[in-house]
Symmetry: D4
Subunit: 176 residues, 8 copies
């Protein structure tokens, strides 16, 4: 799968991997090749910039960057690439996630970061797929199928809840 | 330019147009055709959903949606299309913009919205161009040129400030 | 009880059921029939809209909708029904519940959602009863009795605390 | 119109009237009789409680209460009536409206307040109409008509924007 | 001690007692008589108001009221008494305590509540003692002694830390 | 009036005087003597501490301290006096007043500050009077009279609004 | 003065200059040479990094960086220099300044930014002087004199207020 | 090492030591002598002020002060010393750390505190070292080496992740 990666996933620290792996899993599900690495805006500035700057040339088409606190990696990657950059704010202990979110989303005019929900790495993977779907019809098809499967899962659960009532449903869920 | 629109810009209310026009202006600058309309998630639900659902078939490749307060238009558009949807939180009088921002960015797993800064409609336009740049090399070239021009503008101002000092610079700016 | 339901309870995900069941329990206590189902604004948009749009015709008189994060289900239900819609913001991990609350309460002019406290599903049930009490005197009577019982419970606890003092009261409570 | 009022509008201070009048205007539009008065939870506690407690007996069916800051009037009214109480948080100078909103919406279990958006008095009027619509079919009809008119206004604006483009539309709007 | 109580401690719910007992403990330490009870602004409105209104006549000189969420008990007590009322915001699960704090502190002009820190019931007890110390010199003496003891405790710990260094100090603390 | 001052009003900067004068005006209304001065915790630390430390000896019985931003004056005054200290958070340009409020109210165990609303200097004056009313029956009488007058003012306005309706009331208010 | 600059002042945009000039003014007052320029983390990444990286070699001893929104310039400068970096969060229209503040202050372990108040550019200048004062005794002397002058200004105002009373003081201030 | 301390670390309470020890550890790593003690702004005001005021004379060159809630120790230390003061906001149970952060960072003009991240004591140690590095070239060298080691650690982890993929990397990490 990693021959010919189209997406680069980077994160500021390996402590973000527990969250960021969700982006990788989604891309695997969609059969989209990806690179994954650690590149801190603050500890390995040059590494981050070279990684992001070279992405376009390497054939990468979308960058996903996750970071927490004063989260600069997504914005700095966006600064040096013409590719779309998706930012994932990582929840830390204080400020209830507002630090990561605001550090990523409030970018100045000229350099956008496509921000997803706090800890929303799975959605970053899906958004990357949607962006690639603009170019690759087969990926767009997979997104349509994925949305259909989401719908069916909800409908199945809805049916179960409607039939069982809430008490039995919760009991059954707890039993699993 | 509006023959063959690639981007659809929609907003919840015409009071958002003063902000949302910045997305249109950027797309015009990049020579990217766009549709622009009003479609409220709450007042014209069907219109919004049909507009968003049909976008892919009409040849639209990216949707930009702006909304304020309990801002549902971007998320609802995202729910019914496989296209990437960019959300622009519009600043209103209360909560300092947190209502629009959180209503747009905190999407559940499965349905991302690519959120930009509060009132960041220009960046929504640029992000749309970056997404299209994945498919259209000539747009990617324009983004590179645009980023270069941003850089040059800052450098020119920097040079002026360095030469004049702050007092003269501010005086000259005020005189304009 | 579910013959002739007057209230529809819907939630965006079955993970909300642990909270939303409190609305069902209150309605059961008041002897008010209800429907309960899952309908995500984002994953099952049409299902949600049809469910909400058809509620009035099915004889439903009040809708209760719970959702978390960028919580759109209550607002979208409200958009397509003339019935009063009660929104329950569900607390998630980040932003201390502000995301759900603001996404539900800050509705634009024209389409209100009657918002209750974060995780306040029991109160959603009571509010539904109060609304039905406008039409059905026997429900209004039950609300009066319910409020009386609340009062008596507090008074009994107050009496116990006054007699025992805080240390003994806490010890007895811990022993239970 | 004020013979046979069905809604009571109360506010904590006459400085809230500039906002709260929007509720009255909506009710007038819907032809629903209302009382309107000032009753501060803190300055005229008894007045507020008697007003709210007696509302049911007077034939009032819904109470709308607006207040700012540590906004207690809606909650205190709710404490002494079996009627549904709608709360309108009024925006003040500090905390960006969070004080009024949280003081009204975060009610304890047992005593809900149906909270609308900050400064959302018009929506309070509409919500009152929706609640009355459960009992009075002619009011429900008016809500359906009102929602239809909202939809048509948006569609008309949308058509104008689509035809004129944003620049001309904004110019024309500014000219009005 | 409870012959001749000077302070009334009230709380909205017995779930607040775990925090509010700290006020009682401080008053016991200072040898100040107190009443303690439960009186919810919303569930037992009359009880609360009578309790607060009658406090002055019963010889109570300061009221301490704790409440969480849309915390109205302190403000409602303040509305019906000429006595100083101290408010204790109780931390709940959502909004990180801002709901209780803002509901208590943001009182309108005319009816102050002397607000202490979130969960700061011990400080409420001390503030009550300081207020009583204005009238009773022996209580003021006790406050001076109490502050002296606080100082000595800190100084003793400081000395220990300076002598041991942080590693040994933490080890010793963990061992206790 | 300033012979025999019972209250000391201090503020961190003369830019706070526009707000803090409201405390002085209330005390004048109640006929309570006061001192008023400027003493910054940060710019004139010793002055502040001496002023606060000496207050008790000078016959001062309550201290009111107003400050904005990282508002330390109330807490530092409280640290060095056995008198009750009332804190007034002053609204500044950023953080919507949360900085001043939290800096004043979140005092550690042992050293309370009786915090009033953001910019609530009038309430600080009233709270000071209530505290003095514990000792001086004639001040308690004035508070009762003051609360009565508040009530009457609201009732008069309420009557006017009820008679005129909102449109005429607002017109008449605007005409004043 | 700009021969031999010890401090580099940089800002993300020339719109920050109105605030950032206060840092320059303080340094001028202290007779400390400085460079001042514009270097956006996002628009001129390389320029910013080279400027910050080369600062140490050029003889710069402290860097002051101001930025607004997703404010990355201070953190990115800190990433590439061993010099202390002072960050000035610039207030923008939304989020009440929390975006800039959190983006600057919440730096990850290893790369601190010495953050001052929102819009606190003057304090950034003073902090730079304090840092230089560690090395240069004559600058430490100037800080002591500056703090003395602050104290005297407050004392003079305090004396005026004490003598005139608040009404006359405010009138005189308004007359200036 | 504690002969000839250059840095003074102080904290408001020994409960802050678990966090503040990180500053001490960093200084030990850099071979920088330090004092460490407890000095509460509120409980031991004089002790704090004397400690801070005397620091310069004792040869201390940088002060680090940690505090939580209404965190006044850093600001009060800064008020009485010409030395640079670094503030560490300590996370407490409520307000998600905003109370400590805003109480420390929002200092008034004239008296800066160099604020680091919430619970960022390690960064306070590094910032102290950077400040000392302005004067002592050998400390600046150590900072350069420290930043190099940070970089290498990240690079090593990055390499491991790139080689193993996320699943194996996480498994290996969990196994440690």
């Amino acid at each position: 799968m990693c021959n010919n990666p189209k997406v680069a996933i980077l994160m500021g620290s390996d402590s973000d991997l527990e969250i960021m792996k969700d982006a990788a899993k989604v891309l695997e599900e969609f059969g989209i090749g990806y690179e994954i690495t650690i590149a801190s805006a603050h500890r390995t500035t040059e590494r981050l910039l070279e990684f992001a700057k070279g992405a376009d040339k390497r054939g990468i088409e979308v960058i996903i960057a996750g970071a927490g606190g004063a989260a600069h990696a997504p914005g700095m990657a966006a600064a040096v690439t013409p590719l779309p950059v998706i930012g994932v704010p990582i929840l830390a202990k204080s400020t209830a996630g507002l630090d990561s979110l605001l550090s990523i989303v409030q970018m100045p005019s000229g350099i956008p970061v496509a921000t997803v929900a706090i800890n929303g790495a799975a959605n970053a993977g899906i958004l990357a797929a949607e962006i690639l779907g603009v170019k690759y019809p087969e990926i767009k098809e997979k997104i349509l199928a994925y949305k259909q499967s989401l719908k069916e899962k909800v409908e199945k659960k809805a049916q179960a809840l409607e039939q069982m009532g809430w008490a039995k449903y919760l009991a059954q869920k707890a039993a699993k």
